[in-house]
Symmetry: C2
């Protein structure tokens, strides 16, 4: 194993090529945000950085490969979030801690919204690679959440009809999806801070069993 960066043909590449590759990734991310996956064209990505489609294919076998890499990068940004999910949330500080987690999660989501959307689509459509990346990202949070939930069940604050693993998945699901609704909810009177507070209250309740 090596951390060298490769072109599509597998060759290790130098500094200039790395810069080009990075520019292509950034352009992909930008256009994904602006136009969505269904209108994303390799011609546009190349044009965005003033190069030709052939250059894109020099570094990636197809657009999916570039997006997959962006998804892996997003996972890196998700890792620090687990720091918010340590056992021992109490009746008094738990709600604040949940709020801190939600704040961090919202920032993360805002940064990678477009890429995560495609990651989830491809994962749900059965793409092996995107499934793997998504599962790994979700397990990051779910492992921590599971422990906290087990704690709550053990202490008798949570019903033991709750399966910790599934409950952890449900919490992640709720966060992910609710942030997807956010832009539309804003129009119906649910401000960002309302969403934040409600989500924090729910998470606090679900994983600790406190009220």
């Amino acid at each position: 194993m090596s951390d060298d960066i490769h072109a599509a043909d597998g060759r290790v590449i130098g500094a200039r090529a790395q810069a080009t590759r990075r520019k292509l990734l950034d352009a992909t991310s930008k256009l994904l945000t602006e136009q969505g996956i269904l209108d994303l064209r390799v011609v546009d990505i190349s044009r965005e950085i003033g190069t030709s489609p052939a250059t894109f294919y020099h570094y990636f076998n197809d657009v999916d490969e570039a997006i997959l890499e962006l998804a892996v990068e997003a996972t890196e940004d998700e890792k620090p979030l687990v720091d918010h999910l340590t056992p021992g949330w109490t009746q008094t500080d738990g709600l604040k801690r949940a709020g801190d987690f939600v704040d961090a999660y919202m920032t993360f989501w805002d940064t990678h919204r477009a890429v995560l959307r495609v990651r989830n689509l491809k994962a749900e459509e059965g793409d092996r690679h995107f499934r793997k990346v998504r599962t790994e990202a979700n397990l990051l949070l779910m492992d921590s959440l599971q422990n906290m939930i087990r704690e709550g069940v053990a202490a008798g604050r949570l019903p033991n009809s709750l399966d910790p693993f599934t409950t952890a998945a449900a919490v992640v699901a709720m966060c992910e999806r609710l942030l997807g609704y956010q832009p539309e909810m804003a129009k119906r009177g649910s401000s960002k801070s309302t969403i934040r507070d409600t989500l924090a209250t729910l998470i606090f309740g679900i994983i600790t069993g406190h009220v």
Copy 2:
């Protein structure tokens, strides 16, 4: 307003044409399930029913229009679900009622999985029409959920830091998303019935405040 069915050019169509149009919709749904939106080709849809692409464009301006119609049909199937969400869930029967709702929701979701996936993608990417359809579908459930949540807040069983509208959205979000994870969770030991029971317990807790 009229309920007549139209071709892409707006003309009202007869029985034979209606049958063709229906076959095209069914083929679209089938291929969407099998191949996913990114590999969906009009050529394939036409070939599926033994006709030519030109026929497809006779009935729909583009593939989106066909999928949008499938999404509207899905909303119809969602309407009966609100019958499960009537106020008055009690400590004793609430969990069972939540379970019944989850069962119905899972069936609905399984039937329309592929179409709903695209509906949500397009909605999140900002498509006006898909947004409208999704919002209307979600509001169906959310209206009922809101009332139940308000009841719980009024009775002091739920903290009033919960915004009923946002909480209702969170419940819908959790259901939707968790079912999206389902196929992967199955591989990690979370069976369908575990998901059902956990989801029911969570919903029961969130919207009634009972334990």
